[in-house]
Symmetry: C2
Subunit: 333 residues, 2 copies
């Protein structure tokens, strides 16, 4: 920067002003400085910039690798952050890299705010994060914590899905849940409520699962094993999310079970692949772009006003009927 200033015959301060795009420099000087900078190959160093102004204007996003829906969210976060003048840094949680590690990395790189995509860490830790930085959780409610929350109305989504299945004549509807994954508890609850509402308490069955393909496959195998022992297959399965639904679909198809003739399958997310499946996945759409925009806005607003109470954005999900749900087979149960 000093070099640029020297070569352009101005002070460092003016170079700074120009690179920040602030008023206070003549158009002529501006052009000259920019040209010189380009020649020298000068790029402002954001570590120093960061240090100098108190603020980093950087949002940290924690996501989980392989979660398709997170990819959808990330695509939505960038443009909104840019619109509001913020930088974005990503940090991934993986099989052997904990969410805490991912979050700490972001924090130590001076992210002012954290956007956590489907965090599964314990509530206490998330609350701690909320105190250390403006924090937004997408998909996971963190009760009584200083953390904003963006999600879709899981209950409504499940409600729509269940109405759809019941209307198609299904009664033996099983739910594969998402374990401790964000949103799972609420989906589970809504499933139970719907079953009860339709007088199907006796049929309620929740299979412990996860939001992964593997989990769907495992559940599929379980159903098939049961069938081989004379038990009837469920006529419909409400999966914890799209990935799980996909795994289930794979397992069933592979075993010659026809979806939706024999079994209907409904997912959750409408992640970017679900319309690509063999017959198009019936699923509950969460609008990733909208959720991302809300998350970014929450983070920024909280930065501008740290006193804000923890807020919540609930977006309405929408059932998307595609090919994996159909009329219930003649039931013998």
């Amino acid at each position: 920067m000093a070099d640029v200033a020297a070569k352009a015959g101005v002070s460092r301060a003016l170079v700074s002003i120009i690179f920040r795009g602030q008023p206070g420099a003549s158009e002529e000087t501006r052009q000259r400085v920019l040209r010189v900078a380009d020649e020298i190959g000068y790029h402002p160093d954001s570590a120093a910039r960061l240090l100098a102004r108190g603020r980093s204007r950087t949002l940290g996003v924690m996501f989980t690798v392989h979660q398709t829906f997170h990819a959808d969210l990330i695509s939505g976060i960038y443009p909104e952050a840019e619109r509001l003048g913020y930088d974005v840094l990503l940090s991934a949680a993986t099989y052997d890299r904990s969410e805490a590690k991912a979050a700490e990395a972001l924090l130590s790189h001076r992210c002012e705010a954290l956007i956590l995509l489907g965090p599964e860490a314990e509530a206490g830790y998330l609350d701690e994060l909320g105190r250390r930085a403006a924090t937004v959780s997408v998909g996971r409610r963190v009760p009584r914590a200083r953390v904003d929350f963006v999600h879709s109305a899981e209950g409504k989504g499940v409600h729509q899905a269940m109405e759809h299945l019941v209307e198609l004549g299904h009664r033996r509807i099983v739910h594969i849940d998402g374990g401790r994954s964000p949103g799972s508890a609420e989906r589970r609850r809504a499933y139970r409520a719907a079953m009860r509402r339709h007088g199907l308490e006796a049929e309620v069955r929740v299979i412990p699962g996860q939001h992964t393909e593997e989990s769907g496959i495992e559940s599929g195998r379980l159903f098939l094993a049961e069938r081989d022992q004379g038990q009837a297959l469920p006529t419909a399965v409400l999966a914890g999310n799209d990935r799980c639904a996909w795994g289930l679909l794979m397992a069933l198809t592979r075993a010659g079970v026809d979806v939706p003739r024999d079994v209907s399958v409904v997912g959750y997310d409408d992640s970017h692949l679900s319309h690509l499946m063999p017959i198009g996945l019936t699923t509950v759409r969460q609008d990733a772009t909208l959720m991302a925009e809300h998350a970014v806005r929450f983070a920024v607003e909280r930065l501008e006003n740290p006193e804000l109470e923890a807020r919540e954005a609930v977006l309405d999900p929408k059932l998307v009927v595609r090919g994996t749900s159909g009329k219930a087979p003649e039931t013998t149960a």
Copy 2:
């Protein structure tokens, strides 16, 4: 930091020493300082740290959202970077965020080295990046540029796949390529060579495609449309990568074409999902973990010795035969 020092009754310098884990502080003081820091909630600020020591010890990784194989690579990058004492920052290219933007973000955050996963930007720009920072390209060769290169031997992989198909009796083997995507050119070349070697020049057919599910679906539709006009389906398809193979699979299955009875499909990558497909995708495995480790090591070695010539690591891929490839149908062509 000053607070911690004051409260613990030592100098800032000593606190620094302790937080860097350097020798030069008694065990007793060390414990005391760490305890005080914990009470105050002090975390070292890496922007300042970064600025102070010339080096950031941070690797920047650029990837493309939704590329499953990139997720596999990222999972492998973290542990290796940590082992070598480096931090990792991610930046994603998306539909409307260019690779250049993603890379600049990393650079301006002081990443010392860039690891580009499957970059598609023009060679000139990559070369420029190579001059600005230690740069490693994974999957894409950048001739005559100051960029290290990690990839698998595309030729060998395709070779194996083609031998496999030919042995199964296939002759009408079509290749959906990956356009400008990394590795595509080489795969395309190897496909042509293999066809020629087996006297199948006349059957050579390369369909312009991309490394996306959509591309596979499109190609599938094309084949089906041709069939409806009386043309024969290919008996085998070598897709550009797994995602493309998957899309193709979906399109064919949806139309009632039986894989592998009617058409065999072979992918490329062995990305984390390919064994989960309905019948398990026959594909060419690239070892993501190994590739990631090489990439990190290249980056670090180049940082330690900037004079190093651009290097290349070629890993041997391996055909993984699963369920999507089978004997060629009785040919009428």
